[in-house]
Every structure is written in C-alpha cells, then in structure tokens.
C-alpha cells in the first residue's frame, strides 16, 4: 500500500477512535454515480494492432512489476501529442490505457503524456521555465513552433509572474508542450481574489478538476489527488506559502479522503490526498467540458484517477463535484472510550 494510503488508513482509525464513525453525508453526490473505470498505467513491452503488452507497477507493501495484456480494438484511439496511431506505441514508452465501457479492450491510450502547471519564471524564444510549486520543483518546457500559436492563443501573457498550464509530451530533452491545458488566468499568480474569511464551507464543492504530473518513473501509479487546502502545520503535508484559493475548502492532510464526481461522465470515486495542491489553489478558472463549471480548481487528480473517472487527459479538466472528507465541528463520538473537555 502506498504511503499516503497507509498513513490515511492509520489516521482514519485514529480519527474514528476519538470522534466516532462519520455520519452518512446528508448532501452531496448522486447515489447512482457509476464506478470508475480501471485505468492501467505502464511501460510498453510490445504492441500490435490486436494486443498491447505493458509492464505495470502494482503498488503494495513493496512495489512489484507485472505484465499486463490489453486487447486493442478497431475503435481504440492513441494519443501522442495529437492523434498518434499505432506507430506511437513503441516499446519503452509510458502509456495510460482507459478500457472501454464493457471493460474488454482499450478505448483510449495516451502515450508519454505530461502536464506542466505553475508560475512562469522566465521565457526564452521557444522555452519557458516554470515553477510548479515547492514539492514539484521546476520544469523547463520547450514549446515547438507548431504548438506555439495554439499555446499563445490561450496564454497571451507569457511573462514571468503569470500562470501557465500546458499539456506536454515527454521527451529526452524535457517536456514538450503540444497544447494548452486551460486558458491562462488574466491575473498574476500572486493576485488571486480569495473568498471572504467568513465565507461558509459547503459540504460539497462544485468547480473544475484537472490532473497533474506525468507518466513514467516517479509518477504515482495509483489514484490520488492534490488538494488545494492541505494544512501546512505538523505532519499534515501542506505547503507553507500556499494561497487560500478562490473556493472555500476545509483544511485536510495527506491521507485524507475526498470524493470526486465527474459531472460529464457521471462517474465518482473516493481518492486519498497524496499531494499539496498549492498550484491548483492559484487557479480561479472554470471548466467548460460539459456546461460551464463554477470558478475554482478544487482538486488535481493523478492521471490514473482522472482517466478512471472518464476524463480525457488532453482536454485537461472536467466539471466536478468534490466532497472533502472532513469531520465538522459538531462531530460527536459514538460509544468511544474518549473524554471531552472544554477550556
């Protein structure tokens, strides 16, 4: 079991011991939401028009590698910076596969996809230096001439201090931008309109959900989320300089759980918080995948979780409802051996 999930299980046990089991939520997600698809992430070992063989990493007490065979169908589409075709499925490349609705074959395959989201530090002729946050470091993104116009259309301010969000293809020289992830916010990264301090925290939050990271070494193979309001104190795992974001969200910690419902596909799942989403907190944008979402990037998912909920990685986002798993102020212990005191 990966560390955030294991730690989350321990914290959940401790929380329930002291506060009791959480009551069933009164508001929130539709009860008939479909289950997530089982996305598969791995390295291509062999590929043919009928079969894709991957070396996949299964997360457990110790990460172990297994070989997974996935049938290809006539309707399987491959993305590698655009429509890639079967020629893009070369051994050694990292892919993520979304199975079809029947679960029998591959529906979509994304090859060497990555995403760079953060604040522009410097701009060259066809390169951008991006600060992705204290926990993700910096990225040197190459924007090739064929992609530059597309990126500039939705990122008109390629200046230090402004935000950038681009979908990339991994390459030996670093990520190469192929299209914008979302439209660039018109404000500087440090110029975010936060909600009023006294704004109430709703039980469920509507907004846009995106994805983060890349495939390959170091990428989390499991489903998880980067949450914009991770507490910076103690061992919670948050970033000290994270802004408060443009949506009123409750503070959580690494290992806490959030439930995400993709309003476009109707699928929902519960994922652990695996990273601080301080980059997401700087975005006050909308998603227009199916209707127009309210403002606010309320979570970033790992590619596996995003694809599993029916999201298209190249689209960058989906309209979502998120229910943070935070106990409220009135949580009352039910038959626990605890004691309470007020001071």
């Amino acid at each position: 079991m990966p560390l955030p999930r294991r730690r989350g299980a321990g914290r959940s046990r401790h929380r329930e011991a002291v506060l009791g089991a959480p009551p069933p939520p009164r508001t929130g997600l539709p009860e008939n939401a479909a289950r997530p698809l089982g996305a598969v992430t791995g390295t291509i070992v062999d590929a043919s028009p009928h079969l894709l063989v991957l070396r996949t990493r299964r997360a457990g007490a110790t990460t172990r590698e297994t070989e997974t065979r996935i049938p290809m169908t006539g309707t399987t589409t491959v993305w590698h910076g655009g429509r890639g075709g079967l020629a893009a499925l070369r051994p050694g490349r990292e892919v993520i596969v979304r199975p079809g609705e029947d679960g029998l074959g591959a529906d979509r395959v994304w090859v060497d996809v990555a995403r760079v989201t953060g604040t522009i530090l410097a701009c060259g002729r066809d390169t951008v230096e991006v600060d992705m946050g204290p926990h993700r470091g910096r990225a040197h993104v190459v924007i090739p001439p064929y992609a530059l116009e597309r990126v500039l259309v939705r990122h008109p301010r390629m200046e230090p201090g402004y935000l950038i969000d681009v979908i990339c293809v991994r390459s030996p020289g670093g990520p190469q931008a192929v299209r914008p992830g979302t439209s660039q916010p018109g404000y500087r990264a440090d110029d975010l309109a936060a909600p009023e301090p006294g704004a109430p925290v709703p039980g469920t939050v509507h907004g846009t959900v995106t994805w983060f990271g890349s495939l390959g070494e170091g990428a989390p193979p499991h489903a998880g989320a980067a949450y914009p309001a991770v507490d910076p104190e103690g061992d919670a795992g948050g970033c000290p300089d994270a802004p408060s974001g443009c949506v009123a969200l409750p503070y959580l910690s690494l290992g806490s759980e959030i439930t995400v419902h993709n309003e476009c596909s109707g699928r929902a799942t519960t994922v652990p918080v695996v990273e601080c989403g301080c980059s997401a907190a700087r975005y006050c944008d909308r998603c227009v995948e199916c209707g127009t979402s309210p403002r606010g990037r309320i979570a970033e998912l790992t590619p596996a979780a995003f694809v599993g909920l029916g999201g298209d990685l190249e689209a960058g986002c989906f309209n979502a409802v998120v229910r943070p798993g935070a106990p409220g102020a009135l949580a009352v212990p039910a038959a626990v051996s605890g004691r309470a005191g007020r001071w």
């Binding site: 301080c278 309470a340 001071w343």
Partner: protein, 291 residues
Amino acid sequence: MVTEFQNTQVLLLATVLLAACLAKLTVRERAAGVPDHVHGVPVPAGLARVTALRRSRGLNVGLGLGEGVLGLALLVTPQLPVRVAVALAFAAATWVVGELRVRRPDAGCGCFGGLSSKRVGRRSVLRAMLFTACAVASLGAPLPGLQVLRDVPAQVALLLTVELALFAALSPEVPALVERGARARGRGRPPVPCERRRSPVTETYRALYDSPAWVEHENVVASAVPLDVWREGCWRFVVFPARMNERDMEVVFAVSTAERDRTVRSAVVQADPADSADSADSAGSDVSATL
C-alpha cells in the same frame, strides 16, 4: 449657478482632503500585508521598493499633513495657487492610483491610510479622476470654503450631499470603516469557519495542555514527541505513544480549531506497528520544542 457649483467643489475637496489627513494620521497600515515574493517569483525590486516606501509610516504622516494643510487652505483662502496645488495633487494621485491598479493592485492604494488596504480597482481610479475634475472646476471658485459654509444656499447643500453620496459609493474604504466600527462595538467580523481557519500548531498544544483530557492521560504518555500531527476540517489530531499495563498503546487527542470554545477529545487505541513506523520518521521536531 456655475459659481455655486464651483463653490461646492471647494467644500467637497476640503472635506475629502481633511478626511484623508485624518485617516492617514489615525489608521495605520498593516506592516506585513503584501508579500515580497510569491511562489518563487519575486516582486520586481523597483516595485517592491516603491510599495515599501508608500507603506512607510513617515511618508504617510507627511502626506497626511500635506493634505490637511491643503484642506485647511481651501477652507480659509480663495488664492489661486492653493487651488492649483490641490488640482496638481489630485492629478498626481490619479496617476499613482492608475499605476498601482496595473502593477500592484493587491497592495491597496493607501489613499485613506490603513482603510485603503483593499485591492485597487476601477472604482478607486474613477474616484481619483472625478476629484481631479472637481479640482479643475474649483479653480475659478470665488469664495473660500468657510465663507461658503457661513451661508449655505440650498443648491450647494443638495449638490454637496449628492457628491458625497457618490464619493461614498465609489469608496472601498466605507465597508472597511463600517467593519472597524462594528469591531470597536464588540460585534466584529463574522468568525472564520473552523474548517478553514488557519490554526498554528502552537495554539493546538496550548489548548491541549490546558485541557482535562490531557491531565487524564498525561501519566501514560510515553514520549513528549507526538507520533503524528494532522488536521481534518475542524479538528487537529495529535497522537502520542503510551504505555498501559505493560502494553504499547496510543493516545489520540482531537483538538478543535475553532476561534474560541476549543474542545479537546481523547481516546486510547491499540498501537499499530505499521502506523508507528511511518509516523515516527516524520514526527515534527518543532513540536518537541514546545513541550
């Protein structure tokens, strides 16, 4: 009619200048409101220096006194140089507010001292432009402010009321002033919901050590360094190793993050070796310093 309009502008400008003087001298700006760098991107050095200079107490007091002198001069003398100085001051203020809106809107304009800490928007720029127009219109006013006040014609009173209402509508300082007033009367701002209130870990320990729950379990706690400290919504959880009846246990405290009336709950659970191994690595060293 034109003369009365010009006289009204003198009164309006004197009121505004004296109000700005009073605000600058009495309401201090918050010292650490604007970050020097955000997310690894430093604010350009020139801008940071200008912002720091603008927020310095000395400059604010100097500006406030200057505005007070101009306001009083408008009240007591009809001299043209005074009117020209006022017009130039408002023109300069319009330029400064416009620049701030483009370059550092988050820093606030400081037009009314600490009351003007909200971001600079179009309203602030429009207000400064209207005052400049008023100052230009007042150049030909024949009377000083006090003389106008001695015998206020109905038109002047009506026009001044309308202009003051427009001034209030364009001023983001009015809500800040109302909030300060409410706070002074004890009603204050609405409390921050405990789910999203920033709660330092030192505050949590203070509440914990003062609680009956801590007193009850203090003797079984085996280490001053907690195994894990994390937060979910309204609660911060602190787990300490404990030894009870020759068995390894854990004491879990849940401390409320509310602004007041903080509740502390506790429970004793069986130690889980896997949890302890994970958490011991990351137990906070800053925590031990508080014990």
